[in-house]
């Protein structure tokens, strides 16, 4: 259910945007982020932690042989942690530690991919809609409305049963298809405001092309918002992925993810006695999501602060 957080957050920001009427152009968006993060030790630690985990996970998984990790060993089923298996083994005698590494990589990859794809699409959609306004805006917003009311968990489940080859990529695409609307709406409302501001009006009178106005002026001014939203989305996406795995519509076991590891906890004995299979994954999700969130919050504060300063 974690998706509702991001949803709420977005709504929250929209309303905040509505209140903060006076928005000013500021050239140094990223630098302010950076300063805010350096100032907030918690966010800094979180960021370092997150980057570190990502590097470790992506690094090790380059060396790690996936075939070896998901190799079935009938003589090593459900082994508790030991020197040989750092985090024990699962029901197929597979090394949980290896799966945890690869699973974290896959989950992060899904999180990133979904965030990027849905973010990119949502931004383009929102900017176009907000910038051009009028009928185009009206029409595009009807599309967004349509997607907004789709019971997306249900539709994703239907999609999952249809796609023949189910991998990190297809999964990310399916997910992206149903969660770009939040960003699109957010960006659109922001772009609507920007459009009315002097600089945009001015450039238009000066004869700049639409694309150049969008890319050179409108977009840079909403970067802060984009970064914040996408950071928070990243956390939610990891949550959705694990939820679907739990319902049995997640990735195949050969493509371990944090979600598949946790869904092993549906077996009551695994939940109660074989903690080494699911608890590390659960803890990792918890910590990763906290870290992402801490960074996101700091970014949000930075974005707010920037607006207030004006």
């Amino acid at each position: 259910m974690s998706e509702n957080h991001s949803h709420k957050d977005i709504e929250q920001q929209v309303s905040e945007q509505q209140k903060e009427q006076e928005v000013q152009k500021s050239p140094s968006g990223l630098r302010i982020f950076w300063r805010e993060i350096l100032k907030d030790k918690l966010a800094l630690i979180s960021l370092i932690f997150f980057v570190l985990v990502s590097m470790i996970v992506f690094g090790i998984s380059l060396i790690l042989d996936l075939d070896e990790v998901v190799k079935i060993d009938p003589f090593a089923i459900h082994q508790p942690p030991s020197d040989e298996f750092l985090l024990g083994t699962d029901k197929g005698g597979r090394d949980v530690f290896g799966q945890l590494i690869i699973g974290t990589r896959n989950s992060l990859a899904i999180g990133f991919l979904v965030t990027l794809i849905s973010g990119a699409f949502g931004i383009i959609f929102g900017v176009v809609s907000g910038y051009f306004g009028g009928h185009i805006d009206n029409f595009l917003m009807r599309i967004v409305d349509f997607f907004m009311v789709l019971p997306f968990i249900m539709i994703i489940i239907v999609f999952v049963t249809i796609v023949p080859r189910y991998s990190v990529w297809t999964f990310s695409l399916i997910m992206s298809a149903f969660i770009w609307m939040g960003i699109a709406r957010l960006i659109r409302s922001k772009a609507l405001q920007e459009r009315e501001l002097d600089y945009a009006q001015a450039s238009r009178t000066l004869g700049s092309s639409h694309t150049s106005i969008i890319f050179k002026q409108v977009l840079p001014n909403i970067t802060s918002l984009v970064v914040v939203t996408m950071t928070l989305n990243l956390a939610a996406n990891i949550g959705i992925e694990s939820g679907l795995s739990f319902l049995g519509f997640g990735l195949p076991e050969d493509t371990p993810s944090l979600g598949t590891l946790m869904s092993y906890a549906t077996n009551p004995t695994t939940l109660e006695e074989r903690w080494w299979i699911w608890a590390p994954a659960a803890a990792l999700i918890l910590v990763l999501m906290l870290a992402v969130r801490n960074v996101g919050e700091a970014l949000k504060r930075a974005a707010d602060a920037r607006q207030r300063r004006a």
């Binding site: 709504e11 539709i155 239907v158 319902l247």
Partner: protein
């Protein structure tokens, strides 16, 4: 206002039609059908083929869609193959359960979220606030299904405080006081599980909202005028901060539906979410279609509700 509602409904009707088309097209891509589950050595393939023909499973999706629309016009959503009963009756049985679960969850969400949010906002940066914030952090990061499983295990089985499945005790006469109590008892644990995780966004939102409002001019004015701290909070800050929360109530519905899918599965609670998952697996398309549409309509109504509340609350947002 009424003009607005009518207009919104007019706008949303194409959405419903799109959604129904989408479901039929998707269904035609799904492998297997409602008869696949019957395969076995004792069932003759010829009989299945015969039934497929009879039930129209072999028709292309647009024919099936046409038949379905014709059925709707006559007031029928079709018959569930698996349950051998009318879809509307079947869904009604389950929707009621999900409705109660959602209602209880919503009550818990606000019963937990409002006080915590207010406390946390009012006494921000105290130990109490940090405790509450800590809880929201954990709540944010905990997947609801893990939370549900653990809650069921501890409170359902180890401590035995709550029933562990179903929506009512077996054999209780429907309609009696006992029946209602039993229903309620079955709702508590799943409802709480949804709420404890679901409420964190309300808490966080309320907290930041209150902290924001505290520094607004009109509050400072009220204070300057000598209004008591209690009055300032009850009259001004709380009222101002609560309104947007009321406005998001409608959107809450969509989130609840997503949340109940998990919780119903864990608590064997026979509601819509569970019915949906089952129907997907056994390819009971009439039920799948009806459920997706119903949920879609629920979401539309929820969004409409939110917009209406929002416009009542905040005159700045004009309804065109």
């Amino acid at each position: 206002m009424w003009k607005f509602i009518v207009r919104r409904l007019l706008i949303t009707s194409p959405q419903i039609i799109f959604l129904s088309l989408l479901v039929f097209v998707l269904a035609s891509f799904m492998p297997g059908d409602a008869l696949t589950g019957a395969i076995g050595p004792d069932v003759k393939a010829e009989r299945l083929a015969e039934l497929r023909e009879e039930l129209g499973f072999n028709d292309p999706w647009y024919i099936q869609y046409k038949d379905w629309v014709a059925g709707i016009l006559q007031g029928s959503l079709g018959e569930s193959f698996q349950y051998k009963m009318d879809v509307e009756d079947l869904i009604w049985q389950r929707v009621i359960n999900t409705f109660w679960l959602s209602l209880v969850s919503v009550i818990f969400i606000y019963a937990i979220g409002l006080p915590l949010g207010i406390l946390s906002g009012r006494y921000n940066d105290t130990l109490l606030d940090q405790l509450i914030t800590g809880y929201t952090y954990i709540g944010f990061a905990t997947p609801i299904f893990i939370f549900g499983l653990v809650a069921l295990w501890i409170f359902g089985y180890i401590l035995g405080w709550f029933p562990t499945g179903g929506s009512v005790d077996p054999g209780v006469e429907s309609g009696s006081i006992e029946y209602i109590l039993s229903k309620l008892q079955h709702l508590l644990l799943p409802g709480l599980s949804i709420a404890l995780i679901g409420t964190v966004s309300t808490v966080q939102y309320l907290r930041s909202e209150i902290i924001d409002t505290k520094q607004k001019d009109f509050i400072l004015t009220a204070r300057a005028k000598g209004a008591s701290e209690r009055r300032v909070y009850n009259r001004h800050i709380f009222r101002n901060s609560i309104l947007p929360i009321a406005a998001f109530f409608g959107y809450e519905i969509i989130n609840l539906i997503n949340g109940t899918i998990f919780i119903e599965q864990i608590f064997s609670y026979p509601g819509m979410g569970q019915l949906f998952l089952d129907s997907i697996v056994i390819r009971d398309y009439t039920v799948v279609t009806a459920l997706v549409l119903l949920t879609g309509i629920g979401a539309i109504v929820g969004a409409l509700l939110s917009d209406i509340i929002l416009s009542l609350v905040d005159p700045r947002i004009r309804i065109k």
